[in-house]
């Protein structure tokens, strides 16, 4: 279960690539794990490392020393496309990322992120460009992500409002999970099942 999502302030990691797919976030060969541990080392693995395991030069943005400890990723359009692997948000949160800003997110990635205390924040294209400009001009600019108020505070006292699913917001703020909610619907589910016989039986001898 995730910790409650609290307001936080961080500098920004800019990653201007478009359509970053989850195969880049965590390459498939790291999906053979049976737990969630150790995935930080798999994060953007093939963009960060050479064949021999040494860091690429110039270093990928995550490995640049001044990026250490930053919790906000500013990504290009349509982040998280492709595979449904939840290993992507697991790896991002293991690295320490708590919010991602982009113009849009792939559906499954967004859903997976919200279940792991990782906040996807969609901003419109013009504001997205301004954010990249801001980080280019002031690489150490700090943003504050306030989920409760649904705003990102920008330097200069500017607020960037954002939309979030109200239910997901409640879950994130409370640090509760959807499974707990669904388990609380046992009576309704049982009633539905009684009225709707299963359409198949995988246990039946075919």
């Amino acid at each position: 279960m995730a910790e409650p999502f609290t307001t936080f302030t961080s500098k920004v990691i800019p990653l201007p690539a478009e359509n970053v797919d989850t195969d880049q976030v965590v390459p498939a060969r790291y999906l053979k794990v049976t737990d969630k541990a150790g995935l930080a080392e798999a994060l953007f693995r093939d963009w960060r490392f050479n064949e021999d395991g040494s860091l690429k030069e110039p270093r990928f943005i995550l490995d640049q020393p001044e990026m250490a400890g930053r919790e906000i990723l500013l990504a290009g359009d349509n982040f998280g496309a492709g595979s449904s692997r939840e290993h992507a948000p697991w790896a991002l949160t293991a690295w320490g990322i708590r919010a991602i800003l982009s113009t849009s997110f792939a559906d499954i990635f967004r859903s997976n992120s919200l279940k792991n205390g990782l906040l996807p924040i969609a901003v419109e294209a013009e504001r997205h460009r301004q954010l990249f400009d801001l980080v280019r001009d002031r690489p150490d600019a700090e943003l504050t992500v306030d989920l409760d108020a649904q705003v990102v505070h920008l330097p200069g006292d500017e607020d960037l409002p954002f939309e979030v699913d109200p239910f997901a917001k409640q879950m994130l703020l409370a640090g509760t999970d959807e499974l707990g909610y669904l388990l609380g619907k046992d009576v309704e589910i049982a009633a539905w099942e009684a009225a709707h016989p299963a359409r198949i039986d995988t246990l039946a001898r075919a």
């Binding site: 049976t34 290009g76 559906d107 589910i189």
Partner: protein
């Protein structure tokens, strides 16, 4: 979209799309402001996205609520060479073993290695008759959209959601928006359903369908066999749509009837009567729409590093200078650098090292029949490696019964066991850095088929034609192409 939509004033409900009908049939309950609790009819499980979900169940002391609506297989990380040998990769072996333990402990039927029903999860569902119209189907795999070909609402989920479905047989979902994809006209010989979906994604981009469910309609869709329909629905996710479906019709019913888990007798008649009410009502409104002219489609091939970077096979690689903005220019420059292709170059004639025929996109028997027909009496080019991995054990047996396997072998192909294989390259089947592949799979992302590997996505016919010539080739140049289109079967 049509400006005027007419329906009888007396109708009890406004016209609904098939998506809305399936949705309405499966909402268990919904609180104000909350997503719907959506019942799941069929939950498919595989070794890669399930271990942490079972761990979660154990931690909470939960059981699997409906094992009889759940089925598992091992497909992603398993080897596709001799199955009598142990799995050499210790992590893959441990993952497969954990799936076996989890299924035994929680009472889930498993079609694992050695089972005659083993295969890629999206191949065996339809094959066993588990995939049926009107169902909700989920799996921890984005290509679950495949099952939409039967008029089911089928979509990929993450591992947290796998745990929820295991525990409650439900999911929390917001109702999706709908996107009509109308494909009018008729496909020319040598052009297949793979080319339709690659053309769609090239037009709308990999994020074009985000937040939506595609409904594929129109004359060209109706004319497709079930397996060709599965190819289209399979790649809905590559256009950003979590699901894509096709209303069921006689083609669907004929495919389902007689399969092991299909209803029979009076139950069959009742099911068909129910399924006939599923298609979208006349006048049902879609949130978005696009029309594609099938007559104008050519075989498609990708040149870049996402499935939206596709062109008609006779076209030239686009130039970054022609891109509308700096961001897309950068993206294309990066893709061409990775692919080591030049702006404006022809894609036809591009050297190929490996040809891969298989995957949940194009690993079914009709895909193999088409590729084999194109390869009959021919040899693959020197220096080219052709890998053929059947989508399931049953597809493999059928191909061997029909003599297709012999055609592949005689052509010089490596005829393998079933599995995801080089589509995801988790199991050692992979490209070497710098190699080019024509692949019938679904993703050409950087490193997808092996670190540094370069993928051209294309149809089975294009793959077979390219294997023969050793370069990217137009399948319409194959002798007898007019008769090939009919080979696939149902």
């Amino acid at each position: 979209m049509a400006a005027v939509r007419c329906y009888p004033v007396a109708a009890m409900t406004p016209p609904r799309t098939i998506v809305q009908k399936i949705w309405d049939d499966h909402v268990v309950t919904q609180e104000p402001g909350a997503p719907a609790v959506l019942a799941v009819d069929l939950h498919l499980v595989h070794e890669v996205t399930s271990p942490q979900a079972f761990t979660g169940l154990r931690a909470r002391g939960l059981r699997v609520r409906r094992p009889g609506q759940t089925v598992a297989t091992a497909d992603h990380s398993i080897p596709t060479h001799d199955r009598s040998l142990p799995i050499l990769d210790s992590m893959a072996a441990a993952q497969v073993q954990q799936l076996e333990q989890n299924c035994a402990e929680f009472g889930i039927p498993l079609h694992g290695i050695g089972s005659p029903n083993q295969g890629i999860v999206h191949v065996i569902g339809p094959q066993l008759g588990l995939t049926q119209p009107g169902m909700t189907i989920v799996c921890g795999d984005s290509h679950t959209s495949t099952h939409g070909a039967f008029g089911a609402l089928a979509f990929g989920i993450g591992t947290s959601e796998v745990e929820m479905v295991l525990a409650t047989q439900t999911l929390l979902q917001r109702d999706p928006r709908t996107y009509e994809v109308r494909v009018d006209g008729r496909l020319e010989p040598g052009v297949s359903s793979k080319d339709i979906i690659l053309a769609l994604i090239a037009r709308i981009g990999v994020g074009g369908g985000t937040g939506h469910v595609f409904e594929y309609r129109g004359e060209a869709i109706r004319a497709l066999s079930m397996e060709q329909r599965m190819t289209i629905c399979n790649m809905s996710i590559e256009g950003g749509a979590r699901a894509g479906l096709i209303a069921p019709d006689d083609t669907t019913f004929e495919y389902v009837q007689g399969r092991p888990h299909a209803p029979s007798g009076a139950a069959w008649d009742a099911a068909v009567e129910r399924w006939r009410r599923l298609p979208s009502d006349d006048g049902a409104a879609f949130d978005k729409a696009i029309t594609i002219d099938a007559n104008a489609l050519e075989p498609m091939v990708t040149y870049g590093t996402n499935p939206g970077m596709g062109i008609p096979i006779t076209s030239r690689v686009p130039s970054p200078d022609e891109q509308p903005d700096a961001s897309q220019r950068r993206a294309l420059e990066r893709a061409l650098e990775y692919m080591d292709l030049q702006p404006g170059q022809a894609i036809l004639g591009q050297k190929v090292d490996v040809v891969f025929i298989g995957s949940c996109t194009n690993g079914r028997i009709s895909d193999l029949r088409l590729a084999a027909e194109a390869l009959k009496g021919r040899r693959i080019a020197d220096g080219v490696k052709l890998m053929v991995t059947p989508g399931s054990d049953e597809v493999k047996r059928e191909a061997e019964r029909e003599g297709i396997a012999e055609i592949f072998k005689a052509a010089g192909a490596d005829w393998r066991e079933s599995g995801c294989s080089m589509c995801i390259a988790m199991n050692g089947d992979q490209l070497q850095p710098g190699q080019y592949a024509v692949s019938t799979s679904n993703r050409n992302f950087e490193g997808r088929q092996g670190k540094g590997g370069r993928t051209f996505l294309a149809s089975p016919l294009t793959a077979a034609a390219s294997a023969v010539s050793g370069v990217v080739s137009d399948p319409r140049a194959l002798p007898g192409i007019e008769s090939l289109a009919a080979v696939g079967g149902r």
